[in-house]
């Protein structure tokens, strides 16, 4: 049972380093350098460099860089402001209209940025104060922003889906498409919750639905150049990310916001974000090989098999762990730790990989918005200036909504698997 000691030691060391506040990529570097020394000695350093090389030159991870660039172009060109105004006009006069605007904007922003933290920060600074000023209930308004932000890692193009697909060797196109219906389901559940208790609205609709429609129409170019080309089989996910960048540049040009200065800022911002995300992946990738080398992967599979748990009980156990740990640690860091351990278990239990990893991603998102340590909560608190108590109170109903959504997806797996099946 040496692998058990090694596995517990490795996870313990990593969590201890993370909790001291060490940068996540550096913590993984320490873990893997120590792992190579313990398991192979200095002769294993070639494997370490090879792992950095192979991960850093992985074409599937280039997708992350290009989707980040697409989002940067749209945000820095001010096209997002035009989108904001257009959605606001389009929603018109409905009861609790700003809740609807928030969810619609979150869905679109989430699709553009792929990051829950980014969407929570943007909406927490823009829409939330406006809702509070117009007499909306603060807790429910903040909850709507949290729910909307949490759609970002699910609705395509999701950066987390690309990283999971790359690590678990699952179709990235399938994972991206699989997020569409669950994302819409969760958006509908959230809207049903907030609108069922919405008071009559004191805010004034801007009016001009046609004007709103015209404002958002250019964004169809971006949607078409990303999801349209993937679904039509014209471009791979990586290529569609590049065509998405091109689409975003066209949108910026239509809004007369295309300039060299904007392009330079977008490239710099995207390079920085890409580095911050992918250097963690590069530093962590060797962990999977070390687990396998130490016999932990095979040992875990045998152990779970010997426990005699059914697929449902195993599934619950595999979902409970990320739910708890993502309250405390970063989603990407957890993914890099867990995916190599989970991959053989998913195969052993015979789960549909697209279905399992989609639910896994939603679960990570729920963990990151669950008090007391969820990352999305801190982003909203920092952006909005709300008290910790208000943010926590807003988060609990959203956690409930997302868990309801997950149970639905567990019971009706076709919601996840239908579109990937049709695509194939």
């Amino acid at each position: 049972m040496t692998w058990v000691v090694l596995l517990i030691g490795a996870i313990g060391l990593l969590l201890a380093l993370l909790f001291t506040g060490m940068r996540v990529f550096a913590a993984f570097l320490v873990l893997n350098l120590a792992g190579v020394l313990v398991l192979m000695g200095p002769r294993g350093f070639g494997l370490f460099t090879n792992s950095l090389f192979e991960t850093a030159t992985s074409g599937s991870l280039a997708t992350v860089a290009l989707f980040v660039l697409m989002g940067e172009v749209l945000f820095r060109s001010g096209s997002v402001d035009v989108l904001f105004d257009g959605v606001d006009r389009l929603v018109g006069r409905v009861r609790g209209r700003l809740y609807v605007v928030t969810i619609a904007l979150s869905t679109v922003f989430g699709a553009l940025s792929g990051s829950a933290v980014a969407v929570a920060a943007v909406l927490g600074r823009s829409v939330l104060p406006s809702m509070c000023n117009r007499g909306y209930d603060t807790t429910r308004a903040a909850g709507t922003v949290l729910a909307g932000a949490s759609l970002a890692p699910i609705i395509p193009p999701s950066l987390l889906a690309i990283i999971v697909g790359s690590l678990a060797d699952v179709s990235i196109a399938g994972l991206l498409v699989a997020g569409i219906l669950p994302g819409l389901l969760l958006a509908a559940l959230t809207l049903t919750f907030v609108l069922s208790r919405a008071a009559p609205d004191a805010s004034e609709a801007k009016g001009g639905a046609l004007k709103g429609l015209l404002a958002i129409a250019p964004f169809l170019i971006v949607v078409g150049s990303v999801m349209g080309l993937i679904l039509a089989g014209v471009a791979t996910p990586s290529e569609s990310a590049a065509t998405g960048v091109f689409g975003a540049l066209i949108v910026a040009a239509i809004h007369k916001r295309l300039s060299f200065k904007m392009l330079r800022e977008a490239l710099g911002g995207a390079a920085l974000t890409t580095c911050v995300i992918l250097v963690i992946v590069c530093a962590a990738k060797l962990f999977a090989q070390l687990l396998s080398f130490a016999g932990a992967t095979r040992g875990l599979v045998t152990l779970i098999g010997d426990l005699g748990l059914g697929p449902d009980a195993t599934f619950l156990l595999m979902m409970l762990i990320p739910f708890v740990l993502c309250m405390f640690i970063d989603q990407i860091a957890f993914m890099l730790l867990a995916v190599p351990i989970y991959v053989p278990l998913v195969a052993l239990q015979g789960y549909d990989p697209i279905w399992f990893w989609t639910l896994f991603l939603i679960n990570l998102t729920v963990g990151s918005l669950t008090p007391p340590f969820g990352y999305t909560l801190f982003a909203l608190k920092g952006a909005s200036g709300l008290s910790t108590r208000e943010v926590f109170a807003a988060a609990w109903p959203v956690v409930g909504i997302f868990i309801t959504g997950m149970v639905t997806l567990w019971l009706v797996p076709d919601i996840v698997t239908l579109l990937p099946r049709l695509m194939n």
Partner: protein, 162 residues
């Protein structure tokens, strides 16, 4: 700022420009591939590999600047619960440890780049290219980032709350 600090920031800045240009090149490579395949019926055999090499440049050339700006992801639950002095001490400690880890990883990669250069190792690609420039970029990014981390550990900016 000391001369060594200015040189370090200058090198980080130049590498950051390389990262931005590599990202632009990556997008252009894929756009060219889609256009070549669907408009001219002439798919290339080099774009996928070229994109991989430029991705390595984006990640590791931007690493020193990301480190200088303290942009990296960290779990700050414990440091933010401590008092300012204790948090500062813990941050300096973790920055020092991270500098050692980055430095060790960078020197291992640098030795490997040298070995690849001496043996003339090529990439396993449709159009093979030497491996050492890519490994050298990885090593350079890690080593300059290690120096930035060491500077953070030695002299954290005044008034900063980790």
């Amino acid at each position: 700022m000391t001369l060594s600090g200015r040189i370090l920031d200058g090198v980080s800045g130049v590498l950051f420009v390389v990262a931005g240009l590599s990202l632009a090149a990556m997008a252009l490579f894929y756009l060219y591939e889609v256009a070549a395949r669907y408009l001219f019926g002439a798919p290339t055999i080099w774009t996928a590999d070229a994109v991989g090499y430029t991705l390595a440049a984006v990640i590791f050339a931007a690493l020193p600047e990301a480190t200088r700006r303290r942009s990296h992801v960290a779990v700050d639950v414990v440091p933010s619960a401590l008092g300012p002095a204790a948090a500062r001490a813990l941050t300096r400690l973790t920055d020092g440890a991270a500098a050692l880890a980055c430095g060790a990883a960078g020197s291992i990669a640098a030795r490997e780049a040298l070995r690849q250069f001496e043996r003339g190792l090529m990439t396993n690609a449709a159009i093979p290219v030497p491996r050492w420039p890519i490994t050298a970029m990885i090593a350079l990014g890690l080593l300059v980032a290690a120096l930035q981390l060491a500077r953070h550990a030695a002299r954290p900016p005044q008034g900063e709350r980790p």
